[in-house]
């Protein structure tokens, strides 16, 4: 009973915009504590108001510097901002170095900004789910804008960034690779492209290269992703970027807003069902001793994992009938 009231307290704090509660709530999500689901349940009805923006780009693209300028520009326009910065967990040590907020540190004492660093860990639902939940918390806490920042590396990057409604991909000239470096997955889902460090040589070329690749995309799109130029160090191009972000937001609200919402809901629901289903089936199999038995068989090469899975599930569902 006591635990429940703690969750109540935290949930209420989140809805009131209390920073400590927001921080504690995100920790609960990260740790995937049993209360996490109850917490989400309590705040979910209050989500859906924030504009969720995803920003990704390779190291050296000036992404963090750009985000700092973006946040400042939003603050100038009196919007409150939450930032979730995701960094990879070391597969060897399980630890992580979370350094994204360094470039935004001056903003930490701004009451209208909340910055949280998250490591990818080995989340059961995937880092994308944890990020999505952290975003929900910031959304429910009343932030007008929630920015998800992730590094352009690894497959999880694409999954993380899909959490966002507006996806911005940042590139910079002279990073050693050319536009091919923008991962295939990102090319398709990006809503806005930014070429940062636009005062460098080859900036124009980068812009035209991206535009050329976009032409190749034969799929008919209602929103044509623009390619913008910025100089994050000076802030040049940032107001125009904000304008585009706002435009995209308006576009989302008008066009296919419902369709997107349903698509999003479907993704989340399927994920949630999968997680619950898989967890409970495996728990049951373990209880029945069938799980351990199967592991032995597979290790001894008596039978392959797929066949084992089919066997086990077949008997499960037969029973359910």
């Amino acid at each position: 009973m006591q635990k429940l009231s703690k969750i109540e307290e935290i949930a209420q704090g989140v809805l009131a915009g209390d920073r400590r509660s927001i921080a504690r709530a995100i920790t609960i999500i990260e740790n995937d504590a049993p209360e996490a689901k109850r917490l989400i349940a309590k705040i979910y009805p209050h989500t859906g108001k924030a504009h969720i923006i995803g920003l990704t780009g390779p190291g050296g693209s000036g992404k963090s510097t750009l985000i700092e300028k973006i946040v400042r520009e939003y603050r100038r326009r009196d919007k409150t901002v939450g930032v979730v910065a995701v960094d990879p967990t070391s597969p060897f040590t399980g630890g992580a170095f979370l350094g994204d907020r360094i470039r935004m540190q001056e903003l930490s004492t701004d009451e209208g900004v909340f910055i949280r660093s998250m490591a990818t860990r080995n989340y059961p639902g995937g880092i994308a789910k944890a990020t999505r939940d952290a975003v929900k918390i910031l959304d429910a806490a009343g932030k007008d804008i929630v920015i998800v920042e992730t590094v352009g590396a690894g497959q999880s990057e694409v999954e993380i960034i899909k959490v966002a409604e507006t996806i911005v991909v940042i590139h910079a000239p002279g990073l050693g690779d050319d536009i091919q470096a923008i991962k295939a997955g990102l090319m398709e889902i990006a809503d806005i492209f930014v070429v940062n460090k636009a005062d460098r040589e080859n900036a124009e070329k980068a812009v035209t290269d991206i535009q050329a690749m976009l032409q190749l995309n034969t799929k008919e799109k209602a929103w044509k992703p623009p390619v913008l130029k910025t100089i994050a160090l000076t802030g040049e191009g940032v107001p125009q970027l904000i304008e585009k972000l706002e435009q995209h937001r308006t576009f989302l609200k008008k066009e296919k807003a419902e369709e997107r919402s349903l698509l999003r809901a479907e993704t989340e629901l399927v994920e949630a069902i999968k997680e619950k289903a898989v967890n409970s089936i495996i728990e049951e199999l373990k209880r029945e001793g069938k799980f351990e038995e199967a592991l032995q068989k597979i290790a001894a090469r008596k039978i392959d994992p797929n066949s084992v899975a089919e066997e086990l599930l077949h008997s499960k569902f037969k029973k359910a009938k």
């Binding site: 510097t65 350094g99 360094i102 470039r103 160090l233 000076t234």
Partner: protein, 560 residues
């Protein structure tokens, strides 16, 4: 240098020795490591012979002291003619306190002044700035205006001493103040002698006292170099520093390579102003650390001289031999000193100082034994000074030039360091130069990795630190007195500063600051305008703020 047949014979004999004499010894007393490597990663052999330097050409690679490539020394007679400058870094509290310490050191026999500024001054903040809270006068002297500078040099004739100032971002401002004090004393500007550290590049990856981003920082450094080339012939506008790079965790090799590269960058930036290399290169000076690995350090200093001479001749086509001189100041290593059993540090400092002398330094600072605990007390700094004096007057090492020249080990090591440093230099060239490498985080990563490796070696006891991971004493009592800065200093400084701001001609200050803003935007050489500003008693913070507005502030790229 040796006859081919003789070297062949030695080779044969060595192989015989390795097959016969050596194995017996190893059986009785195995070597304590399977491989002996120094921290730079260079393999150290069991014994060195002429084989190891058979390709050394005496005239090409060593030469005579005072002649290209200067490996053996910059001057023909070195310490037989004149000892290195004993220049002890000092500064704390108010300008009065430091003025007293300066006079003490001069009376005890030091031959040049060296100024340590407090953190607020170094970062371009006045003593009354919020970021200065708790830091005023704590690890250097607080200088917020020309008024403080006048007190600092009160009773010290600037035509009789040379002064080094460890200041980087605000270097133009402190130099301007020094010039103003000299003007007041009636000393002609051509007679002013000293050094401003003014090496902004290394701040980005080593000392981390960066105020502005890389490009404007290099611009300010170059402003000072250009101004001095034209107006202050006895001033060393820059002390291209490896000390901080080393203290941040770099190896001796990295210290050598990165420092020389910074030098290359400044020569290039000054040439871009239209000056000829022989107009200014003779006043570039260098600053290295001296660490515990005795022979590695000596080899490093010799390699540095030869490498710089070659770079100036071959890369920059200098004609004047003085343009090829690598004049260096050395400081013994702070980070190798321990808080545990602090008197042991006297020994460490001695070994390091001796390496610097055998390496042919022009100027030397020896650390005090209480370095790891606090700022040096008078007693501690006196012992440090005596260390130099004992080496100079009692040890006999000064009786001949470059006594270790010709040592098979030292020459082999010198050559290897030179070659490996050239590899680094090529690599950085390929990256697009110093600023590009900084933005890519190249130096930072190299240093962070070396620092981490060092720490791992210490913790695994592969590297012994006496008194710390071996020969430690349980329950050690602190046997020495510590120097404490009176918190009154901050209060006094703030009051003095506020009084100054009330009493000066504020209209004039406003005008000159506007003029400075305009000059900065137009990318003029700012030194003349800054001299005007300090003479109007504009404060350090006010001047720096103008530059912050124009150049922006630097945000660190973190690489762990």
């Amino acid at each position: 240098m040796f006859e081919k047949e003789k070297v062949e014979e030695i080779k044969r004999e060595r192989e015989r020795w390795e097959k016969t004499t050596l194995p017996n010894w190893i059986r009785q007393c195995p070597e304590c490591k399977s491989e002996f490597k120094n921290h730079s990663g260079i393999l150290i052999k069991r014994v060195y012979t002429p084989e190891d330097i058979e390709n050394l050409d005496y005239m090409r690679d060593l030469g005579f002291p005072g002649e290209y490539p200067f490996t053996r020394g910059l001057h023909a007679t070195m310490y037989r003619g004149r000892l290195w400058t004993m220049r002890m870094f000092a500064g704390y509290g108010t300008a009065e306190d430091t003025n007293k310490r300066f006079k003490y050191l001069l009376s005890e026999g030091e031959t040049g002044l060296s100024t340590a500024f407090d953190y607020p001054t170094i970062m371009g903040y006045d003593s009354d700035h919020p970021m200065a809270r708790g830091e005023v006068g704590v690890c250097g002297v607080a200088i917020s205006s020309l008024q403080d500078m006048e007190v600092l040099f009160n009773g010290i004739p600037l035509d009789k001493v040379t002064t080094s100032m460890t200041i980087n971002g605000p270097a133009p401002i402190l130099l301007a103040m020094y010039i103003a004090v000299g003007d007041k004393q009636g000393v002609p500007r051509e007679k002013l002698g000293g050094t401003t550290q003014n090496d902004n590049l290394k701040e980005f990856f080593a000392q981390k006292l960066c105020i502005f981003p890389p490009k404007p920082s290099v611009k300010l450094t170059t402003d000072v170099i250009e101004y001095c080339a034209r107006h202050l012939p006895k001033w060393n506008p820059v002390s291209i520093s490896g000390y901080h790079i080393r203290e941040a965790g770099a190896t001796a090799l990295q210290e050598l390579a990165f420092t020389l590269y910074d030098g290359i960058a400044y020569v290039e930036s000054t040439l871009e102003r239209g000056l000829k290399v022989d107009d200014f290169a003779h006043r570039l000076s260098f600053f290295f650390a001296s660490h515990n690995d005795f022979f590695e350090e000596i080899a490093k200093f010799r390699a540095a001289r030869r490498l710089w001479a070659r770079i100036m001749k071959e890369r920059f086509h200098a004609k004047n031999p003085r343009s090829m001189w690598m004049r260096m100041h050395v400081q013994t290593s702070g980070c190798t000193l321990t808080a545990q059993q602090p008197l042991n540090n006297v020994v460490r400092t001695t070994i390091q100082a001796l390496a610097a002398v055998l390496g042919g330094t022009q100027s030397l600072h020896t650390n005090s034994f209480d370095e790891a605990l606090c700022l040096p007390t008078e007693e501690a700094v006196r012992v440090a000074l005596r260390t130099q004096q004992i080496i100079a007057y009692e040890s006999g090492v000064t009786n001949t030039v470059d006594p270790l020249g010709g040592s098979y080990y030292v020459e082999a090591l010198t050559k290897e360091m030179e070659e490996k440093a050239m590899e680094y230099i090529q690599k950085i060239d390929d990256m697009g130069g110093a600023v590009a490498a900084i933005e890519k985080g190249f130096f930072q990563k190299e240093i962070a990795d070396s620092a981490y490796r060092y720490q791992r070696e210490v913790e695994e006891k592969k590297r012994i630190i006496v008194g710390v991971n071996e020969f430690a004493i349980e329950e050690e009592e602190c046997p020495i007195e510590l120097l404490r800065i009176d918190p009154k200093v901050e209060k006094e400084q703030i009051e003095r500063l506020q009084k100054l701001k009330r009493e000066r001609d504020n209209r004039k200050v406003k005008e000159i600051l506007e003029k400075l803003h305009y000059a900065a935007e137009k990318e003029e050489n700012l030194i003349p305008t800054i001299i005007e500003a300090v003479k109007a008693y504009a404060t350090l913070g006010e001047i720096t703020d103008v530059l912050r507005k124009v150049y922006g502030e630097y945000k660190e790229l973190i690489v762990i």
